[in-house]
């Protein structure tokens, strides 16, 4: 067991930090103020990701065939930590490099790979993920959007909701039922749908968590060629399970939270308010919660690096991350209330504004607890 970084890892992290230091403009905190889905951050990402690509820092873990350098899982992870810590200058494009690209490499047709992977590798593609529906949230398999075969095409009808980045995305990674309505997991297939296809309507949902984050997407007689389907009919569930297992731990929120905590402490020190034992002890409690989450996430990455089959470790990690994120947010609110009630501290605000989604987006914390109970603790099922 070794919980320290190798020299190469530390040098890699330093290289990313230096790159960000150099390339992020002074106005970055304002650009990032409204989150990865905002028009500002999306536009920025289309300029910034090509620079990352040029420096070999966009898809280092992808195979060489698709423009990557086949670097180890840990490097990809360190990269994610550093970019999220900086406020995620990749905007929505983190999804492409983390899992959409890898899913296409494994399951996409040669035509799909040739069409989509190069632009992802260049940092010029914005995607959205069309999974959730009004009546299919945690119980995703009950989704009802239908894709009906019509000759060489499919015709798609239905509605998605909570779709991040939809208004600015070029392509949607869509789940739909090709079998009977209500066909459950076995009827799901995946389609890659250009967002400018006639019949798609996107409506932004005003929200608590930044600009341009969540949307409704309506599909009315949307016609796509059968070549837009990834894998076979009925294979969709297995494919997204692979894709999300590849992602496993999601956004390294403990790193963002821990970084915000350091900034909060710096602010309290500057104000001469970090001498009080209550404040110090609470800061440390939040810090330790971040460290617990960090180690639990690292264990998942370690498993991935060693090609172990995904297990319940990622469920534990996700719960720990929620606790850590909330501990930091609450600390800030308690001891720096003015930073959250005004607009003078954009980075505190943007972190605080989005921290509330931690236990909901990408799967509710309670679902993770159910999985910990079943898969990790082997607790019995109900009658």
């Amino acid at each position: 067991m070794d919980f320290t970084w190798t020299e190469e890892d530390a040098a890699y992290r330093a290289r990313i930090r230096a790159f960000l230091e150099r390339e992020l403009p002074d106005t970055w905190p304002d650009i990032a103020r409204h989150g990865p889905g905002s028009a500002e951050q999306t536009a920025f990402s289309l300029d910034f990701c090509p620079k990352l690509a040029e420096a070999g820092l966009l898809i280092p873990h992808w195979p060489e065939e698709w423009g990557g350098a086949a670097r180890p899982a840990w490097e990809h992870f360190i990269l994610g930590e550093e970019l999220w810590r900086a406020g995620e200058p990749r905007g929505a494009q983190y999804m492409n490099v983390n899992w959409i690209g890898p899913v296409l490499m494994k399951y996409g047709s040669p035509e799909q790979k040739a069409r989509y992977l190069p632009e992802m590798a260049q940092g010029r593609a914005i995607w959205c993920q069309g999974f959730s529906e009004p009546n299919a949230g945690s119980d995703l398999a009950s989704l009802r959007t239908r894709a009906v075969r019509d000759g060489a095409d499919y015709v798609i009808n239905g509605q998605k909701i909570w779709t991040s980045y939809a208004a600015l995305a070029g392509t949607c990674f869509l789940l739909a039922q090709t079998g009977d309505a209500g066909g459950g997991r076995s009827g799901i297939a995946i389609f890659l749908v250009p967002m400018d296809t006639p019949g798609i309507e996107v409506r932004a949902i005003p929200s608590l968590i930044g600009h341009g984050d969540i949307h409704e997407v309506f599909f009315t007689d949307v016609r796509v060629p059968a070549s837009a389907r990834v894998g076979e009919e009925g294979e969709g569930w297995a494919i997204i399970s692979y894709g999300l297992a590849n992602e496993r731990v999601g956004i390294p929120r403990y790193e963002m939270a821990s970084h915000e905590l350091d900034r909060m402490v710096a602010e309290l020190k500057a104000r001469g308010q970090f001498g009080d034992s209550v404040v110090r002890s609470r800061a440390a409690a939040a810090g330790a919660a971040c460290e617990a989450a960090r180690l639990q996430v690292y264990r998942v990455v370690d498993g991935r690096a060693r090609n172990l089959a995904p297990g319940s470790d990622s469920n534990l990690a996700r719960v720990a991350v929620v606790t850590a994120e909330h501990a930091v947010t609450d600390f800030g609110m308690d001891f720096l209330p003015d930073c959250f009630s005004g607009t003078d501290h954009p980075s505190f605000l943007s972190h605080h504004e989005r921290a509330i989604v931690t236990g909901i987006a990408a799967g509710a914390a309670e679902i993770q607890l159910n999985l910990v109970a079943r898969r990790h603790l082997n607790l019995p099922k109900g009658a």
Partner: protein, 306 residues
């Protein structure tokens, strides 16, 4: 970053696991309903096989020692392991074991004192050691499922050791954190077994989501405590050690109550082992000033002075 034990650590843990699975490490009620059962045989086995020297062996190291403290704490019997595994090897001289430790001259009874042959005192600026002469210790009947005792500390023959008090304190924090994580984990397992078997309202108690979520939350936190203790053992960081202990102590209260809650009245009996873990945990959660004090130490290490 590597979570997998090396070959020596894996072998070490495997052999330790066999010793801990033997009947002598398991639960037996103690005559006159004593609250603890000192594992003499396990203690001897560990000592004879050199397990208490793991921390200073290159391919094992403090992380293996911390893992041992954690795993030994999971036994229903108790054995003085924390001080022997993580403090004794770093005192700069040979001292006998079992060993007891007192920090910052904390008043009151000290765990393992009745078994101990020596007492280590860690204060802010020094580490001292004293042999415990025959008859010096007075046993205390304690609630806490440890053998406990008091000694007239002023009457002991203290010797100042050439050891860094900050490092020793950190090692002891790691030891207590690892022990606490082991106790809470073993208590949780006992409760899981119970709620998986006991039916009420036509189904196992453990199928109720209200119970599942609290146990799952506990499992997540205990896992976080265990990993932090192991990392602190390996890194030797003062801040890591304090964070690990503050975290473990911080989660112990609610988890301890939940474990008893789900065991119902059965958990009140001395015929069931749950108290062996929860009552030891109760004592450790208050050790060295408890969670808030441990967190203050972490704040000092991470952010420095105000």
């Amino acid at each position: 970053m590597r979570f997998e034990p090396n070959d020596s650590q894996a072998t070490f843990a495997g052999v330790l696991g066999q010793m801990l699975a033997a009947p002598q490490a398991g639960f037996q009620a103690v005559p006159d309903w004593g609250r603890f059962d000192y594992g003499d045989r396990l203690d001897r086995q560990l000592a004879e096989n050199g397990f208490f020297d793991a921390a200073t062996e290159d391919d094992l190291g403090p992380v293996a020692a911390a893992l041992m403290v954690h795993n030994v704490a999971r036994a229903a019997v108790c054995v003085e392991c924390a001080a022997s595994a993580l403090v004794r090897p770093f005192l700069g001289r040979e001292v006998p074991r079992p060993l007891a430790v007192v920090v910052d001259d904390a008043p009151g009874a000290i765990r393992y004192l009745p078994q101990a042959r020596g007492l280590v005192s860690i204060t802010a600026d020094a580490v001292h050691y004293a042999d415990l002469p025959e008859g010096a210790v007075t046993r205390v009947d304690s609630l806490y499922a440890y053998p406990m005792g008091t000694v007239d500390r002023a009457a002991l023959d203290w010797q100042r050791l050439d050891a860094d008090p900050a490092r020793l304190r950190a090692l002891w924090q790691v030891a207590v954190a690892a022990e606490l994580a082991g106790l809470l984990g073993a208590g949780t397992e006992a409760v899981i077994e119970h709620v998986s078997q006991r039916h009420q309202f036509g189904q196992p108690l453990g199928a109720f989501q209200g119970i599942q979520h609290r146990l799952a939350t506990a499992a997540v936190e205990i896992d976080g405590a265990r990993l932090q203790a192991l990392r602190a053992a390996q890194s030797g960081g003062i801040g890591d050690a304090a964070a690990a202990l503050g975290y473990a102590q911080g989660i112990a209260t609610r988890i301890g109550y939940d474990l008893h809650q789900f065991m119902g009245a059965m958990g009140m009996t001395l015929e069931h082992p749950l108290h062996r873990w929860t009552y030891r945990a109760r004592l450790l959660r208050a050790d060295m000033g408890g969670s808030a004090a441990s967190y203050l130490a972490y704040a000092d290490a991470r952010w420095g002075a105000a």
